[in-house]
Amino acid sequence: MAEADFDAIVVGSGCAGAVAAYELAKAGKSVLVVERGNFAGAKNMTGGRIYSHSLKKVFPDFEQEAPLERKITHERMAFMDPESQMAIDFTSPELAEEAKDSYSVLRAPFDQWLASKAEDAGAEYIYGIAVEELLKDERGKVVGVRAGEDEITAEVTIVAEGVNSLLCERSLGNPRPKPSQMAVGIKQVFELPAAQIEDRFLVPEGEGAAMLFVGDCTHGNVGGGFLYTNKDSISLGLVATISLAADGANETPVYQMLEDFKNHPAVAPIIRGAKLVEHSGHMVPEGGYDMVPRYVFDGALVAGESAGLCMNMGYQVRGMDFAVASGQMAGLAAVKALNAGDTSASGLSSYKTAMEDSFVIKDLETFRRWPHVMEGWSNMFTDYPVMAREIFNALFSVDGEPQKPLARRMMPIVKKRGLLKLAGEVRKAVKSL
């Protein structure tokens, strides 16, 4: 075979692709990154929080360089019914400890920074073009990419095109995710001056809060709401199972849920007076471990969400740290294979070993049953928030009538639901976490 145009081609410059390209370029390999957007992060979306541990491994000084919004030091979880909210509010110095810390980010600046790191290391970039197909030789080994009439070849191709990877489906034969393995996320960004954010969330200057909502935000359906504070804006959104997303299939379309969520008495004051500046929607894989497809092929590796690497806990989505870590492992495995002159599946297999030894596959495996529990646990999204409201009303509201003892106030609320059933549900959930 004629010599390839590049040592490696990376498809997509999200968290996974940019990091893979960075590792390859840093090792002196010739790398081409093909990114569909007119710039990295142009259309990419995330809720907003990246756990830094895996980023730190790639860029030890990322705190100084990366366009991070705020360090998250304030966590809040809220159960909401249509009118009330019961929240757990938590701050602690451990949240800010190195390697445990997390940051809110906005994809446009963050992805551009990642891309600039890859570019500065020597990766070549093509923007504004979507790869349509992977090229294969007569033995089925991936040897490059095609877009339009142009074909470009490489010894290794890394597919990091995000969720719903058509390339994986079309060219690598991976199955298309089932609708039940997909959720949809929508998000809006509201501008608010930094000082007001700090006042509204009771955080020190430069630090930020993360809030997760369960219950009425998805009208009691499986999913949840999220809120992250940025430097001078707030990211607010919802994730809901996809069967709900198709308009007409459910009573309330997702965008209407978001409108209702924004008007909820616990949310409205947070964004009062803030200016809506951005609106976006995106798929979220939620199949967990069971939807991770094959990710090592002859001449190709798959990283990030294209490999199903994402954890949707219903109330929280985690994918960026997986993307960064898998991108790094894919990049390093490709370097190793290139050095050894063997980019077949067996030459590239160190990727699989590294993945299985890391938190990426281990965490997905640990939480493997959670998606199913969540799907079958509708109470979590409907009745529990109502129960919380009843309990706390019983606890807090005083109307001058002689009060019954606490236990007698609580019992009817719990009894209504059956104490054993409740305990059983909780046990099942805890076991899957």
């Binding site: 093909v34 093509i126 923007y127 073009i129 009439e149 142009d150």
Partner: protein
């Protein structure tokens, strides 16, 4: 034939925000090639293709931020052979007279050229003046509104579509021709074009000259938005068409 295409780099107007005081906020707007200058670049590439042995040089003047690798590759991926930029903050927001002065200086670096193609007008000023001022400064003829250009030895035959007539004219070279967008649809560069672009010569420099403004900007503000009812319905809703039709009738 040595063909020059002059393009302006402007903030992408889709991302210009209007601040509460109605001033324009460009902080989210990326630099892009002014829309109708892409047609000039394409016309230059097509003219070169029709005249074997031709070369296309693209030139632009603007603030230091126009020296952007993505932007340069984008231009060079469109059938352009070489790029010359004057990228200097002294060249931000110049009026036509000053722009022509900078471009004249830049053209002197390009070497011999036969024709400079300009766009129909820049996206921000849309003054349709830089081409004319440049011609006046260089002492060469200029025609605008070109919808077809054919090389005829040391002249060009140009069809220009004006308000009421279509003129066919012969322009002696060297000359400046500004083209109507109709002349050529900008191509969509492919991966190979973009890769090749990265390897083409790019000449970027600042300038020592200063360019006095001939026009003073008193104010620049978004217009007051007319109050509109903003009643939006979905066509699939029951009775949507009927309601829309009724509103139409009522408004007439």
């Amino acid at each position: 034939m040595n063909i020059v295409a002059a393009f302006k780099v402007v903030p992408d107007d889709q991302d210009i925000q209007v601040a509460p005081d109605r001033s324009l906020d460009y902080s989210k707007a990326k630099n892009t090639v002014s829309a109708y200058d892409l047609n000039a670049i394409e016309a230059a590439a097509q003219l070169a293709a029709a005249e074997p042995g031709s070369k296309v040089v693209a030139v632009s003047a603007g603030p230091a931020s126009i020296d952007d690798s993505k932007l340069k590759k984008n231009v060079l991926a469109r059938g352009v052979d070489e790029l010359y930029l004057t990228a200097d903050d002294a060249c931000a927001n110049l009026d036509a007279n000053a722009t022509a002065a900078v471009l004249a200086e830049l053209l002197s670096k390009v070497g011999a050229w036969d024709v400079v193609l300009c766009g129909d007008g820049s996206a921000d000023n849309y003054a349709q003046q830089v081409d004319v001022q440049l011609a006046a400064r260089l002492g060469v003829p200029v025609v605008n509104g070109a919808t077809r250009i054919v090389a005829k030895g040391d002249a060009l035959e140009v069809e220009r579509t004006l308000e009421d007539v279509v003129e066919t004219v012969e322009v002696p070279l060297p000359a400046i021709v500004s083209v109507a967008p109709d002349i050529a649809e900008p191509r969509i560069p492919g991966m190979k074009d973009i890769l090749a672009a990265g390897k083409k010569p790019m000449n970027v420099a600042g300038t020592d000259a200063s360019f006095g403004a001939k026009v003073e900007v008193v104010s620049c503000q978004a217009p007051e938005q007319a109050d509109r009812k903003l009643e939006i319905i979905d066509a699939s809703e029951d009775g949507a068409i009927e309601r829309f039709a009724a509103a139409l009738k009522a408004a007439l």
